[in-house]
Structures are given as C-alpha cells and as structure tokens.
Symmetry: D2
Subunit: 141 residues, 4 copies
C-alpha cells in the first residue's frame, strides 16, 4: 500500500518562547509535538493544501494515529529550532513521517527525533477515508 515518495525534506523554523518551557528550564516534552505539527501543517500549506478547506469542502480531517519521539538534548528559552518533515510511508488513507528537531541549522544539534503517522478520516464519523486527490496529487508531482 506504500508507494515511492519524494526524498525532499521540508523544514520549518520554530522559536522557543516562555510558553514552551517548564520549570526544569527546558522545553516541556509535550510541546515538541506542537512544533512537529506546525512543520507538518506548513509542509501541507507549501504543497497548496489548507486543512480548513479539507474539512469544509472534502469532509475529511487528518488526525494523528501514532507518535514515537526520542528526546536527545534539551532545547532552551530563546533557541531557534529547525523542524523537519519528510514522508517515509504512504498508504491509501495514511501518511508516515520522519521528523527531526535541530538547534541551529538542520544537521547541527539534534534535539528530537520522531516518527509520526497521520490518518485521513471522515470529519463526522471518524472512519478512515482515502486521502483526497488534492493531497495525493501534491505528493506525486
């Protein structure tokens, strides 16, 4: 069900603000998942796909089905991070991503390494639905 996908890596910058940190002095572990999602959202936007219309016009939502995250180094207040997003797997109704968070440039200090899996579901019934053509078309172009 998985097809060949582009090796291109999309990158999105994220600045660390107070809101992202905790009293341990570092970015709170749950907040990295927000960063990962911003990168996935901007990757889709760069492909020409806005998630609002996906829901309104196509009646589907993209939802997370699994996350695997390895925390390598702490990020701190004020850090400028780079969050990557590349497709490792594409099913009929799902996409698998590999995502990294670096401090400095991509490839510099690895902060977080993650695999995230997204499924396409019916916005009402929450049942699996094939990825709409607008996404598939974007991926294979």
């Amino acid at each position: 069900m998985t097809s060949a996908v582009s090796a291109a890596v999309f990158t999105w910058p994220v600045r660390v603000y107070w809101e992202d940190t905790d009293a341990g002095g570092v970015v709170y572990y749950a907040n990295y998942l927000k960063f990962l999602e911003r990168a996935r959202t901007e990757w889709l936007r760069a492909l020409g796909v806005e998630q609002g219309p996906l829901q309104d016009q196509h009646g589907v939502l993209l939802v997370i089905t699994s996350v695997e995250a390895n925390y390598r180094r702490p990020a701190h207040y004020g850090d400028l991070l780079q969050v990557t997003c590349s497709i490792t797997e594409r099913g009929k109704a799902s996409i698998g991503f590999e995502q990294h968070v670096y401090r400095g440039r991509v490839g510099d200090e690895l902060i977080l390494q993650a695999k995230t899996k997204v499924a396409c579901i019916d916005a009402k019934g929450f049942k699996p639905r094939p990825l709409p053509q607008i996404i598939i078309g974007s991926l294979t172009e």
Copy 2:
C-alpha cells in the same frame, strides 16, 4: 439588566504540574486562565449544567468576552491552589465573575485576582443569545 445574585463562592482545587510552569520557575501567566476556566466549568457542572449539551441541545456556546487579571504572587511546581468563582453581575446574555487563586486554603496566599465576563452566543453565527433557562434557573434557585 443585572439582578441580585447569590453570594456563594464556588471553589475548585488545581494542582500545579510541569505543564503549567515556565523556565522562570513559576506558573506561566496564560495558564492561570485555564485554571479560571476549570473553576467556572466545575461551578456550572455543580449547578447541573454541562456545556456539551448546551451546544448540542440548546445551540449556544458560552464564550469569554473580557478578562482582567492581577498577578500578585507566583505559584510554583507542586503547589496546590484553590480557584474561586462567584457571580458579580448577571445580564440577559452574559455573566460577570470575580475569581481568585489562592495557595493553600481560600484566603491564605493570594496568587491571582481576576474578573472574567462570559457571553452566551449562537454556536453557529456567534451572535448574542439569551442565557438558556437551564442556567438562569440554576442561578436563581
């Protein structure tokens, strides 16, 4: 438009977790608004009003229209706070609250003092709507 309202003060306990703090070592300022809303939600629940059905059965949402918050002392990781909620004003389509956050017991160390105002709106059009009878009835009993 404001009627006499009960002087009763509702109180809800909130434990401070890592998620609530920032790298300054204290509760992040935006997160107190979550605590205030938990207290308002539980106050409504104690009156027998669940907000889910409000939206589904009555087609209305309760939304915040204004917040005034004074930050008096910092709260820290592990603190057990008490969040109060009392009505100071009741309009046709809105409710005004006074809310406090204390460390320890109510009246001990004042952490935050706030006024919050909530409006009842149409869940679709976001236009003002009279508070449903289920809320008004609860308030005057």
Copy 3:
C-alpha cells in the same frame, strides 16, 4: 539492568476541559502527554516522592527520554478519563512505564496506549545520575 517490578497499576482521573481540545472537536494530540505526566507525577506523590525536593535536595530531575503513543479513539470535551501508570522496566538511572488512557472506567474504552521512559539526570549538567534511594526504596517496598 532491569529488575522485577510491581504489577500494580496506578490510576489518575483527568477531566477534559476546553483547554485540552482543538477545533477538530477532540482532545489535541499533544495534550495527552500532559495527562500521562500528571499520572506519573501523582504515582510518585502516592509513593511519597515530591519532584520539587528531588531537585532542591537531591540535585536531580526526572526527564522524559522517549514516548511511544498510539491514538485509538478521540476523547471529547467533558469526558472523564482514567490515566494509568505501571512500571515495565527499571534501570539504574531510568524507569520505563506503560500507560493507558480510558474513557469511563479502566478497561472501558481505550483512548490512548503509550510507553514512556524517564531518566534521572543531574539538574545542572543534564548528565545521567542513579535514581535516588528515595525512589528506589519506594519502588521495592
């Protein structure tokens, strides 16, 4: 490095508030990690271990090194969830947990299944440190 550990499952209730949800109408995926951490924190507290003193008196922090989360069903505004926490692995400087989130009672509707791994580190240098005796003692009693 792994020793036999108690099969006991600790459970902590979590109510879903507006703050936890997103515009998809369900709990936002990153916020489950907050729920998981509340359960781990309360499990430690139930064992008599407060994390504030861990840092102040023992100079150590417990930090997450990995998370694997499988999202099974969406949780909604107003849901009352039960979050479990049981030890599956104990190293010299780390603890592995299995954690579940259920709607209703434990064993009812499975919302999320997760594995989380926590390491003990030096609060200053962020280097691994043996788990302090106060935790080890609590685990083996």
Copy 4:
C-alpha cells in the same frame, strides 16, 4: 514615574495552528496571551534585548503583573494574525503596553484588544528591581 515614550507600534505575525484552537472551533481564550507575549518578546529582541542574558547576566526577570483583554471576534484555525505591541507607560521598574490582535493586516479585523503590564524583578527573590540600562537605553534611543 512615567516618561514620554515612542509612538512606534511593533507588529509580529502569528499563524493559528490546531494547538491554539478549542472544540468551539476558535482560538482558546488563554492562548491569545501566548501571542501577546511572543510579540513583546520579539519587540525586545528587535531592540537588541534577549531575555535569557537578562536573567543570566543581569539577574532580573520580566514578569507580567496585570492583563486586561477584550475579546472582540473569534480567530480560527489557519488564520494569519498580526499582533501589535506599543508602550503606553514606563515606570522605574515596569512597562505598560497596549496590544492588539488583528486578522489580516493591522487595522483590518480587530480580534483582541489588551493592556499588559510587565515588572522587572530580581530573578531569585522576586522583588522589584529597576529596569536594566540595556532596556532603558533601547527605549529612549
């Protein structure tokens, strides 16, 4: 204690992601305070002041002492907002800001209007401290 301050308005763009919204379909009310703080942080950064060094080298923190926020219109998933920040008051140990959140360009649709007040405190004892020269110098240049 208040001196004449520049009329210049600083603006910072904020994209609304899933993390910012709630099940009402709009931005969650507490999350606007994060947006306001990002704008204040970037305003300081534009003046050449990084808050990390403020704490490390000057031993001071900037903390919020009060917020007044009026919610005018809801913002939605995917919106691109502009968050403004201008000084209305400057004391020895505090700064008062007026801040607005607009959808589209500054002056287009007003989403939120806020006043925020920040105090300079000792990073250890949380007592008021004069604003460091690096900030005052930036403000009056």
